[in-house]
Amino acid sequence: MNTRARAWGAIAVVLAIIWAFPVYWIVNSAFQPVEALRSPDPSFLPDFSAAGFSRVFDESFVDSLKLSLTVTLLAIVAAALCGFVAAVAISRFRFRGRKSFIFTVLAVQMIPPEALFISQYNMLSEWGLLNSVVGLGLLYTALILPFTVWMLRGFVDGIPIDLEEAAMTDGCSRTRAFFTITFPLLAPGLVASGVYGFLQAWNEYTLAVVVMDPSNRTLPLWLKGLTDVSNEAVDWPAVMAGATMVATPVIILFMIVQNRMTSGMVSGAVKG
C-alpha cells in the first residue's frame, strides 16, 4: 500500500511538471540571449540575461499598457457602480419582474462574444466609436456586468438584514442604515468582483481584435503583434519577456481569488 501510494505521488509530481512546463518555458526563454534560442540545442536553465526585457520594454509596450489599464479600469468601475445598485435591489427588495431580471442576468452570461461581435462592430462603426476607449470599454462593461451583479448579490445576501433593522429601530433611515452598516461589510465583495472584472478585461482578445486598430492595441494584441513577423525573424526572448510581463499581474491576482472562481463559475456566481 505504501509503495503504491508513493507511486501515485510520483505520477502526480510528473504530471505537475508537465503541466507547468509551458509556464516555465516562458520564463526560461525570457531570460536567454537570442543566440541561445537559435542554437541547435535548447538551454533548459535560465541565463539571467535581461536583454529580452529591455528590447521589449519600449514605447509601444507603454502605450498598450496605458490603453489596457484605461479600458480595464473604465469597465471595472462602470460595472461595479451599475452592478452594486442592481445587486442591492435584487437582494434586498421583492418586486414584480425581479425573476425575469435575474434570468436575463444569468442568460446573458452565456452569450458568446462570437455570436454578437459582427453587429457590435457595426454599431460602434456607425457611432464612430470603433478603435476608441469608450467603444471597447462599453463592450467590456457589458461583458463583465452580469457576473458582477450576480457575485455582489451573493455578498449582499450574506449580510444579515437584522443589522440594518437594528440600526433602523435606533432611529436611522433605511438608506443611512444601509450605508453605515451594510456597505462597509461589502468591501471584500467589491474587491473580489473588481478582481474578477480585471482578469476578464485585461485578458480579453476577441473583442479587442474586432474593435481596435493595429495602431491602437491592448496588451494581448500587442503581445501577439510581437510574433507577427516572418517565422525566422521572431525575437523569442523578447516575446517571452513580453508574455512574462503580461502574465505576472494576472497570475498574482488569480491566486488571490482562485477559491471564489472555482465555486463561482459553477453556481453562476458566488453565494455568500
Binding site: R38, F101, F103, M110, L116, S119, Q258, V266
Partner: protein, 300 residues
C-alpha cells in the same frame, strides 16, 4: 402609506436602470440589429451608407446550402467534442489523483494546475507557438532526439489535422485545471465512511468509483461538461492566433473565426449575422436548462 410605497417601488426599479441600460446598449440593441441584419443584404456598399434591402431568408438559405459552412460547423462540433471529452476525463482523473496522494505531491499538482489556469490566453499561445516552432521549437527537438528524424524542421500548422492537434493540446491544457479543481471540490463531499465500509466489504477501486464516487459528483460534472462544451465551441482567440502563426485559414476556420472572416474580412455582414444567430441559438439551446436550474435554486 400607499404613496410612500409607490416611491419606494419606483426607487427599486431605479436601482436596476444602470444595469439595464448597459445591457441594452451593449448587447440587446446589437442583438436586435443583428437579427434584422441577418434578413438583409448588407455588404460593402451598405457600409458606405447605401440602404440595405430586405432579402428574406436568403442569407440563411445561402448558409444552409453552402458547403463551407457545413464544413465549419462539423469541424467545430468535432473539435469541441474531442476537446471537451478529453478535458473532462483528464480533469476528473487529476481530481481523483489529488485526492489519493499525500499533501506534498497534491500541492505540487495544484500549484502547477493553477499556473496553467491563470495564464492569460495570448501569453499561453505565444508559449505554445514557441514550443511548436518549426526551426527552434522544443517539441521538434525532442521528437528528433528520440529518433523521429521526420520532425526535424517539421511545420505543425500547415496541415489542418496537425493544426487542430496543436490547437486541441492548447485548449485542453488550459481547461483541465478548472475541471480538476471543481471535481476535486465535489470529491470532498463523498462520504469517507461509505467508502471505508465498501472497502471492508471487498469492493474494488473501480466499483467504488462507479457506485459511490461517481453518483455523488455527477451533478457537478454535468454542469462542468456543459460549460466546457460551450467554451470549446468558441475558441476564437486560439484559432485566430494559430492561423496568424502559419495555419491555412480557409481550411481551419471554426465558428468564431468563420463569422469574423465572413463579416469583417469579406464585408458580407448579412451572411455573417445569419451565422452568428445560429451560434447564439446553439448556445442558448445548450445552456437553457442550466440557467433555468440556477433560477430554480435561487427561488428555493
Amino acid at each position: 402609506m400607499s404613496s410612500t410605497r409607490l416611491t419606494h417601488r419606483a426607487g427599486t426599479y431605479g436601482l436596476l436602470v444602470p444595469t439595464i441600460l448597459v445591457l441594452v446598449v451593449g448587447m440587446a440593441y446589437p442583438l436586435g440589429r443583428q437579427l434584422i441584419l441577418s434578413f438583409q443584404e448588407f455588404g460593402r456598399a451598405q457600409q458606405f451608407g447605401q440602404p440595405a434591402p430586405f432579402i428574406g431568408l436568403d442569407n440563411y438559405r445561402e448558409l444552409v446550402t453552402d458547403r463551407t459552412m457545413w464544413a465549419v460547423i462539423s469541424r467545430s462540433l468535432a473539435f469541441c467534442a474531442v476537446c471537451a471529452s478529453i478535458t473532462m476525463v483528464l480533469g476528473t482523473a487529476f481530481a481523483v489523483l489529488m485526492k489519493a496522494v499525500s499533501t506534498v505531491p497534491r500541492l505540487t499538482l495544484q500549484i502547477s494546475m493553477l499556473l496553467a489556469w491563470a495564464m492569460p490566453v495570448i501569453a499561453a499561445m505565444t508559449a505554445w507557438q514557441w514550443l511548436f516552432d518549426t526551426r527552434y521549437g522544443l517539441v521538434n527537438w525532442l521528437l528528433t532526439k528520440v529518433g523521429l528524424s521526420d520532425f526535424d524542421d517539421h511545420n505543425w500548422l500547415i496541415e489542418p489535422l496537425s493544426f487542430f492537434f496543436v490547437a486541441g493540446v492548447i485548449v485542453i491544457w488550459m481547461s483541465v485545471p478548472f475541471v480538476a479543481f471543481t471535481a476535486y471540490a465535489a470529491l470532498s463531499q463523498v462520504s469517507e465512511e461509505t467508502l471505508e465500509a465498501s472497502h471492508l466489504d471487498g469492493a474494488t477501486a473501480i466499483q467504488r468509483f462507479r457506485h459511490i464516487i461517481y453518483p455523488t459528483i455527477r451533478p457537478i460534472l454535468t454542469i462542468v461538461a456543459l460549460l466546457q462544451i460551450v467554451w470549446d465551441l468558441r475558441v476564437f482567440a486560439q484559432i485566430n492566433f494559430l492561423q496568424n502563426a502559419g495555419g491555412t485559414p480557409s481550411e481551419t476556420h471554426l465558428l468564431g473565426t468563420y463569422i469574423y472572416s465572413l463579416g469583417i474580412g469579406q464585408n458580407d455582414y448579412g451572411a455573417a449575422s445569419a451565422m452568428a444567430m445560429f451560434v447564439l441559438a446553439l448556445t442558448l439551446v445548450l445552456t437553457f436548462r442550466y440557467v433555468r436550474s440556477l433560477l430554480k435554486e435561487e427561488s428555493r
